[in-house]
């Protein structure tokens, strides 16, 4: 699986280097070829479960970053967006999937914190523009070790103060 992802990533890099098919820098929204985000970019994880936040300390809990059961963390590429645009993007995700009724908070994650943990953020724009998947979660030698590794990574993210928790001014509720 990791080999295929690496191969895929290299193909993407090659296509981007080719030029004619690479996206226009003046209109990044047109980028539909998956690409790995650079460490200075920012991604956002919307939090739909109140249990994944520690309100008193304004921190996300480690459960907010758990990649199971799909072995990837679904986020959005939020670099360059205004505060309002980030919440509007979240608004569009509500009601699209079971459990997405309320957005209680969002965690803004610098990609650098992910690369420090040997993860990558792959902007794939599927199922919507700016959708990004955090990939390369370690497999360990067996399921037990993988689970322990993921717990450790998620705990590091929840304790990393470069990761910021933001609350909506008005709770974002699906009507």
């Amino acid at each position: 699986m990791r080999f295929l992802l690496q191969l895929f990533s290299r193909c993407v890099s090659w296509l981007q280097r080719k030029g004619p098919r690479s996206p226009s820098k003046s209109n990044p929204e047109r980028m539909l070829i998956p690409r790995v985000l650079a460490p200075d970019e920012l991604v956002t994880r919307y939090i739909y479960s109140e249990r994944n936040i520690r309100k008193s300390e304004k921190r996300p809990k480690r459960g907010a970053f758990d990649p199971s059961p799909h072995m990837e963390l679904s986020v959005v590429h939020s670099s360059g967006l205004t505060e309002t645009e980030v919440w509007e993007l979240g608004e569009q995700t509500k009601g699209s999937t079971p459990g997405r009724r309320n957005i209680y908070a969002r965690a803004d994650i610098p990609v650098q914190t992910l690369t420090d943990l040997k993860l990558r953020a792959l902007r794939d724009d599927k199922p919507f523009i700016r959708h990004t998947s955090v990939i390369d979660w370690p497999l360990g030698s067996d399921g037990n070790e993988a689970k322990a590794l993921w717990l450790q990574i998620c705990l590091e993210l929840s304790e990393d103060h470069r990761v910021r928790l933001e609350f909506p001014v008005v709770p974002v509720v699906h009507s």
Binding site: Y46, Y48, S49, R51, N52, R54, E57, K61, R62, G63, D66, S68, P69, H70, S74, T97, P98, G99, R100, N144, E145, K147, A148, L149, L151, Q152, C154, L155, E156, S158, E159
Partner: protein, 167 residues
């Protein structure tokens, strides 16, 4: 932390029923004394309240996470077997142990989180087979591992709590 050293080397809470089958007179006397303490603690409002609140929260969690996709990201429903093991774990928590916050993992396991300040935290997940996976950070140190829940709190968790909890 108030805890008892169980015969197996792991640690049991004062509220955990003693399962010793020792028959000698001193052992019977100790058992009788422990049972008295246990009953006294169970009658204590504070002890009962903390334990009952956690068990009630576990019950709420079972309801909240009972449907596929409860977290908005396609999570599995909470496993009933994991719920049962979590119940056993909570009942066996050492009497004066810090109280964790409960949550469900997207793979259907029950998670327990303890935080003690900046970069002092322990997290663990209880699975449907009684497997207990944990990770902790304490300043620049961190660790992770796997253990198994039987009738008592795994020694690795007690060790981590002792390292992290303020004296």
């Amino acid at each position: 932390m108030s805890a008892m050293q169980a015969p197996s080397g792991s640690i049991a809470g004062l509220i955990t029923p003693n399962r010793s089958n020792a028959q000698s007179e001193p052992a019977q006397l100790l058992l009788h004394m422990q049972e008295g303490i246990r009953e006294h603690l169970l009658r204590s409002y504070t002890m009962r309240d903390a334990r009952e609140r956690l068990l009630n929260d576990l019950e709420s969690l079972r309801f909240e996470a009972s449907r596929q996709g409860w977290d908005g990201y396609g999570a599995e429903p909470l496993s009933i077997d994991a719920y049962d093991f979590a119940k056993t774990f909570i009942k066996a928590l050492p009497t004066m142990s810090p109280v964790p916050e409960l949550n469900a993992d997207p793979d259907g396991e029950v998670s327990l989180d303890w935080t003690f300040g900046k970069r002092r935290a322990l997290t663990m997940s209880i699975g449907p087979t009684g497997r207990c996976t944990f990770a902790w950070v304490n300043g620049q140190r961190s660790n992770r591992g796997t253990d198994w829940i039987e009738d008592e709190i795994p020694a690795s968790i007690v060790f981590a709590l002792r390292q992290l909890a303020p004296a």
